[in-house]
Point group: C2
Chain length 223, copies 2
DNA sequence: ACCTGAACACCGTTCAAGT
DNA sequence: ACCTGAACACCGTTCAAGT
């Protein structure tokens, strides 16, 4: 009877890669990148840390699987048959929102650009680039330009979240950075001092989309 | 006398932040990001690992200082008074070459976009954006678009170098990735399969500059 | 086949003790 | 003021032993 009560604390089903990945995502969402350790994961799954290695090769694969789980949702939801320009914007916003909701995804995307999740994004971007009528010889450069921009922002966003764990601190964080920028030597950093004013109030998503649009204009002009 | 011989093995001058950063760069260049530990650094400087902390706050500051040391050379060398479009290209190529010569710089730039080295790049890009005649309200978005693209590529480049430590393996690495891409499901990944052919033979620097040019065209068109 | 958890080989960082 | 190096509190990963 008392053993029955203890049972409640133990995992019900068998371990699987999917259950491990889901638990990893829960830890990452709750406490950030640094909280995901094999010990913490094993504790949450009520198992030994070695058991995880039966289902997942190493931490790299674990991170990649967690990222792919969320990015796959974005790329598969992408509107088929939509106007290519809008489709690219929608895909980009989808990735942005995934990073916004799970900042560690941004860190993982920029840290390992050769993982499958990034390939999904490149494929989505590329297909719409083709639909845009960009000649074949220019498609690779056009798609990777968009991809690099997305990965660059992903890294920036994740770094911000890493510095201030709570999402509510984002404004305060940007305010502190802006204050630092405003104190820089005017002779050496005129531009950064000027944009410091816009930093705390700016909308990340708007700025992201503005960048996507700039690149799209470039692609369409060159085409 | 025998003690005199032992003296040869010991450091000659006093420790300083500059000497520590130089030693760190040597380790990073020789054996990559993972080789830089406080123990390895202390051994190279013939001191205790704790001594380093007297001059450097932590590993984060050490990495940032090493990166800034190399990026400062690029941004200060930037041609003053040149045509803004060419100046931006020159600055971007300078950053690319620094990453190409020291792939760990790419990793560090993308990992911590709030470090001073990144601010240097943003300042350089921004000043040329101003010179380009972009209206003030559009300057911030234009400069960060270029910056995000640069940081995105920095991360990609560093990840490639991390996977294959020897620079000579780069072609082989890209060939292996291309072979993987070619085996993907044609129905799901038509675009990636198509560009796989261009991957092993493509010139990283050309592709980088093509991306910069696309964004510049976008900026000039919107202006 | 799958799980357990101690053990191994590392880390970054601290700090009492030296000079 | 600056340096030493053992000690601390962690890691990811392995592996003999269990079921």
């Amino acid at each position: 009877m008392t053993t029955k009560i203890q049972r409640t604390q133990r995992r019900v089903g068998a371990l699987s890669k999917q259950r491990i990945v889901e638990a990893a995502i829960e830890i990452l969402d709750a406490d950030g990148e640094s909280a995901l350790t094999f010990r913490a994961l094993a504790a949450r799954l009520a198992t030994g840390s070695g058991a995880i290695y039966w289902h997942v090769a190493d931490k790299h694969e674990l991170f990649a699987a967690a990222t792919d789980h969320l990015i796959a949702r974005v790329t598969s939801k992408a509107a088929r048959g939509a106007e290519p320009r809008q489709a690219i914007r929608a895909l980009a916003v989808g990735v942005f929102d995934a990073i916004d909701a799970h900042p560690w995804v941004g860190g993982q995307l920029s840290r390992d650009p050769w993982q499958y999740a990034v390939l999904r994004i490149l494929e989505g971007v590329g297909e719409h680039i083709q639909a845009l009528g960009v000649p074949e010889h220019a498609q690779f450069n056009a798609a990777t330009a968009l991809l690099s921009f997305i990965l660059g922002l992903a890294g920036q966003y994740a770094a911000g979240a890493r510095l201030f764990a709570r999402a509510t601190d984002r404004t305060a964080f940007l305010g502190a950075v802006a204050a630092q920028w405003a104190q820089l030597d005017p002779a050496q950093h005129p531009f950064v001092r000027q944009v410091a004013k816009q930093l705390p109030g700016h909308d990340d998503r708007e700025q992201f989309l503005a960048g996507i649009d700039l690149i799209l204009v470039g692609i369409e002009t060159v085409r």
